[in-house]
Symmetry: C2
Subunit: 199 residues, 2 copies
């Protein structure tokens, strides 16, 4: 049948646009998919089509939802007094993997950046302030990357929430669990030393 | 909506079964897909569903086809007098990228292996012998990996075709184009030296 190779090449080109897959590994992945079309390719196509059709941003927190509020916002067991601010859904997932936070989230979808013209409006910070007021939030935990943009955004949020009277906290910085001092960068060692505690 | 996270986790688990993607990169890939659902996820789901539904083995050569003969077997411009024997479709694609072979293929789908009980029948070698006879093939080029199993299979094919009178050839072994001697294994250097030619 004419065009078969073109269709397969088109599929490879789409796969190659995924992070972590280059043209070469996309080719291998497509071959693997075709070899295992019943067990892998068809279920994957179905799952993708379904999520593509139903996925949307949670109107409350910006997390991914498959319709209406996301699972976390819809869960009555999650504490309403704490909001954890994260940059994106990947960070929300990382927090959830830690199983340590039982409150709700606020997904910014980016960080403040004068260069890229990303201001507080784009990140939904006014909406966060509104949520803090209406949900009677006791604490906002700002869990942003320890980069310049992350820290700038964190400080902006802390200032914006100052008059609400809500506690604004950040994640502790220090030596990672299992981390070896010899492999840590200087900044982390300095931060860990500044924040030292008695044993 | 209940179960949203489960559905996304199921999609991540399917993606993680692709070669080149681990659990972590599958997670990143799925996030990227959800972020770009119109431009990437929907077209990818459609292309996958279509290929999964229509892909089959070419009844002539074993290449992937989307219905009936594959593009190469169906192409009247491809020479019928030459058959290139490859282990799998990935190798066929590699040969095609080289643009040097203008004949047709025979995809074995594996290599002879006493350990895995893969015999000539499983590899379609009787069918290859039949093709050589009916297509009046002048030359069979055995393009198999330079491994023990590849070379065992190549010799078996050469012997099986001996009485057909068809020439059976193999790819030359030597220094790759752009290859540096210092980085080559000893076997390649020995093969290149044995097959040296006058300049």
């Amino acid at each position: 049948m004419a065009g078969a190779q073109d269709e397969i090449e088109a599929l490879i080109a789409l796969m190659a646009r995924l992070p972590g897959l280059g043209p070469r590994s996309a080719r291998r992945a497509v071959l693997q998919l075709i070899r295992r079309r019943t067990q892998l390719m068809e279920p994957l196509a179905r799952a993708m089509a379904h999520v593509a059709e139903t996925a949307q941003d949670c109107p409350m927190c910006g997390n991914i939802s498959l319709g209406g509020l996301c699972e976390i916002c819809a869960d009555p067991a999650r504490a309403t007094g704490e909001i954890c601010v994260v940059e994106d859904v990947a960070d929300l997932w990382a927090m959830e993997r830690g199983h340590a936070f039982k409150g709700r989230y606020h997904v910014l979808g980016g960080l403040l950046s004068a260069l890229d013209a990303v201001g507080p409006e784009e990140l939904g910070i006014p909406r966060l302030i509104e949520r803090v007021r209406t949900e009677a939030t006791r604490e906002v935990i700002v869990a942003l990357n320890a980069t310049v943009e992350g820290q700038t955004t964190a400080h902006y949020i802390a200032e914006a929430l100052e008059e609400s009277g809500t506690a604004v906290t950040g994640l502790a910085q220090g030596v990672p669990i299992g981390g070896e001092l010899d492999y840590l960068d200087d900044g982390t060692i300095q931060a860990a030393l500044r924040a030292r505690h008695s044993l």
